[in-house]
Every structure is written in structure tokens, then in C-alpha cells.
Amino acid sequence: MATENKKVLMKGNEAVGEAAIRAGCQCYFAYPITPQTETPEYLSRRMEEENLVFLQAESEVAAINMVFGAAAAGVRVMTSSSSPGMSLKQEGISYIACAEMPCVIINVVRGGPGLGNIEASQADYFQSTRGGGHGDYRCIVLAPNSVQESYDMTVQAFDLADYYRMPVFIQSDGIIGQLVEPFVMGPYTPMFDELPPKEWALTGCAGREPNVIRTLFLNPPDGLEKQNVRLYEKYDRIEAEQQWYEDYNCDGAEVVIIAYGCASRIARSAIKTHNGNGSKVGMFRPKTLWPWPKKRLIEIAENNPKVKFLVIEMSMGQMIEDVYISLMDIVPKSRIAFYGIGGGWHPTPDSVYEKIQEVLAE
């Protein structure tokens, strides 16, 4: 019971805040928006206690640019928002990605489009994984499905950001962010033996050549192209190194559900009921939305040539495209079913159960 007792109780949004502090985050900039506001509220108190920089920005646009500034200054920095606010950050994110500045960005996704509602949603998947901003770039996207993972992944996000020099997203949602669960608040254990020194940081050029953080590449004419190629070499490396996932009951399953975040928990309820009834239903849960963990999914499909897939999203269908692309030439479309709910609403264990029944019956 010793470890049990070390558990603490927090909302997902608060756990993310505490994780940032434990990971050495020095600056946090954000603008209030439901359902993520507990993060700035929590950090306004905690960062003052720890003598760190908390600043409520005048807007999401200002917040993401403050993140750009602090990252450029060489420290760990985070921001958080929810869907409409994330849309406003897209220009800044594109700059930060191009300038290769490490930072952590939390999106507690809510119902959209527009003002939408304040319930949980997964309809910002395209925005986070395909770059809602302009130009060719990618961000690592981690998708927690519990308060424990919200905490753990936030800590890891800082390491990933520094290691690969890029923005890392935590893609949470209105349920995971609002959930109160006990979790183990482990000490910060670095993911990597060594992180690259921030030699590029802006600290005044005493004793060295000036550092310049820029994203304009006018000369030579293919200068920007070269930067893009550099970025994509990095992205290829990340795709090789960081495909995170969780398997649940996939061996010999008749149906494998593919779901992430909140939807994966709803699905697991339904699966348990099913499996209690004797069917064989498994689940493949991407923990990184980019890079998408296709290697493992392909393995599952190849090991189990008759398996059917059921993709469940709290959106009208976005991740399904990554499933199609991953399984192309391996599984025909007819064996990939989809169950999605758009607009800040969620499936239930019962509705998932029924959908599984349908797929099994096909």
C-alpha cells in the first residue's frame, strides 16, 4: 500500500500544470478558456510559489508568441488552450515549428466548429497532426487517456521538445481535462540520457557569435526548401523512434477497436462487457497521434489476417485517414468500420457495444 498512499488527487488540467513544474518548466503563458482554465488557475498559484513566470496573456495570439520568446530565450515553456484558442495560435505554431523552438502546447479539445460547446471532443485531430498552420511542418502529439497519463505525458513532452527541438502537443479533451483521478506524481526522470545543449538560445552574444532565430529564408532561393528538407529528415527520424501505443486484447481478436484518449476508455468499458459475453474484441490505442504508430497496427493486421477494425472517434472522422493510409495494401477498406460522433458529444459504452455487435455481425 506504500505506493498507493503516494497517490494524489487532481483534475487532469491541474495534473498537467503540476507536471510542467516538475519537468522544470520556467514559464507559462495562456489565456482563459473552458474547459482548460484549471491549468492557468492552478499554475497562477503554483508558479508564484515556485518563483517561476506565470503570465495571463491578453489573447491566445499573444500567449503563443510569448511561448516563442521564452523558448528562444532557452527555457522550458508551456501554454494551454482549447479549440477556438488553438485556432488563433496557428500562425505562431507554424513559426515555432519552423524556428525549431522546443515548447509544450496543451489543447483541451472542446466541441466545434465555431464557439461550439464546452464538452469533450476529438475534432482537432487534423489541426494538431496535419498542421493547422501554414506550410509543411509537424508537431509531436501525445494523447493521454487518464489523469496519470496527462501528468506523465506532460513531463515527457518537455523532454521530447528539447530532444527534437520542436513543439510537442498534449491533445487532451473536456473529459480527460476535467476528470479527477488519483495518480502517482512521480519525480522527474529524464527520457533521454542527454539533451542537446541549447547553444542557439538568445542570451546575449557575450563570448560567442550572435544567435539568430528566424524563419524567413529569402536567399538563396532554395534556402527555405533546404530548411524544409532538414525538418522532414528530423520528422522521419521521429517517425522511426517515437510511435507510442497501447495494445489491449489484440491477439486473436475478431474485432480490434482503434481509439485514443477519452474514446479509448469508453471503448474499453464496452469491450469488457463484450468479452464477458465470449466475443474476442481488442483495442489498439495510439498514444502518439503524430507520429502515428502504424508499425504496430500493421503487425496486428498481419498477424491476424481476418481481423476487422472499428475506428471510434469523437469527431466526424479524422484519425480514420491515418488508419486507411497505414493499412493500405494490407487490409481492405471494407474491413475498417467507423463510428464517430461530432460536435462535443461522446459515445457511450452501450452505443459502442452495439456498434461492435454490428461489426461482428457483418
Binding site: 500500500m1 498512499n5 476535467q178 476528470l179 483521478e181 469508453i266 469488457k272 457511450t348
Partner: protein, 181 residues
């Protein structure tokens, strides 16, 4: 009750300590080695109205955080009673604050309702704010979902740091509720 999951609704006015009562339960679960998962809501983005917390307690891993119906409830004021009674499963125990609720206000006759004059008892104890914990005491006694010592542990955790001074009055509120029936 599907599986071993206890799904508890706590509802009332903002200010009646709804979220706090939920947190005490959740903390108690940690001590008791049970799994727990809570979800609080304060109504929509527009303020006012009712506060509500749903706490799931289980010996197993808690999967879906989506709770549509509950099998135990603790209701602190009349509007919440009207609003939420339809989401309580048949035959479930429901502890209501009879200081503020007229039990005739629900059409459900299939609930196991227990009225507690909690607000008035709380005033007697000396702090109207502990009505929630008195009701918690009644609920624990009536259902046995957790042993009272874990609740005491939960109270210790909930009233720590700057709120430490409030521990004793809440502890005795809990006892008085627990001992009521």
C-alpha cells in the same frame, strides 16, 4: 449494478460543498485502495444554478468516465432533486437534505430515499457549511461503501495545508452523520 462499480451523484447549490464532498470520497478511496474517478460540473459556461459531482468507485480499473445513471445519490437542495432524480437507477439509496427538500418533489417512488435534516444539524454543530459532510456520514453508514476510517483519512487530506483548521469540525460532522442512524 453493472460490475462492482458504485456510481455516486452528489448535487446541490454552488457553495454547498458538493465538489468538496466528492473529493473527500475520492481521497478516502485512495486510502482504501479502491479505484476512483470523479467528474465535477458547474453547469454551463454561464454561471449560477446547480453544482454536481459524479464519483465512480470500484475495485477494478475504471474505464469509461461517462456516467449516465448512478446507483447512489446525495442531494442537497430542491432544484437538484427535481433535476437529477431521473438519472438515479431504480432502488438506489438516495440521501436527501430534508432541511431544503420536500420529498414529494420527485415522482419517483422506486428510490430508497432517506431524509436528513442536514442543514439544521450543521447549524447546530456551528457551521452551516458542514451539512455536506454530515450527509456523507449518513451515506457511508447506510451503504457501507467505504469504511469510516478511510473517510477520516479522506477528510485529513481534503483539509490539509491552509484548510487544516477546518478538519475537526468536519470530522465531528462526519461522526454525527455516521451516528445518526
Amino acid at each position: 449494478m453493472a460490475g462492482k462499480e458504485t456510481k455516486i451523484l452528489i448535487a446541490g447549490f454552488g457553495g454547498q460543498g458538493i465538489i468538496l464532498a466528492g473529493n473527500v470520497l475520492a481521497y478516502a478511496c485512495i486510502d482504501a485502495g479502491k479505484n476512483v474517478c470523479a467528474m465535477a460540473s458547474y453547469g454551463a459556461e454561464v454561471r449560477g444554478g446547480t453544482a454536481k459531482a459524479i464519483i465512480s468507485i470500484s475495485d477494478e480499473q475504471i474505464d469509461s468516465p461517462i456516467i449516465e445513471t448512478v446507483n447512489l445519490a446525495m442531494i442537497m437542495n430542491a432544484p437538484s432533486f427535481v433535476r437529477y432524480s431521473s438519472s438515479i437507477e431504480k432502488d438506489s439509496p438516495v440521501i436527501v437534505n430534508s432541511s431544503m427538500i420536500d420529498q414529494g418533489q420527485t415522482e419517483r417512488s422506486d428510490l430508497d430515499i432517506l431524509g436528513v435534516d442536514a442543514t439544521n444539524l450543521a447549524i447546530k454543530i456551528g457551521n452551516i457549511k458542514v451539512a455536506n459532510i454530515i450527509m456523507l456520514g449518513v451515506m457511508i453508514k447506510k451503504t457501507g461503501i467505504l469504511d469510516p476510517d478511510s473517510i477520516t483519512g479522506g477528510l485529513k487530506r481534503a483539509f490539509s495545508g491552509s484548510k487544516k483548521g477546518l478538519y475537526y469540525i468536519n470530522e465531528s460532522a462526519f461522526r454525527s452523520g455516521y451516528d445518526l442512524y
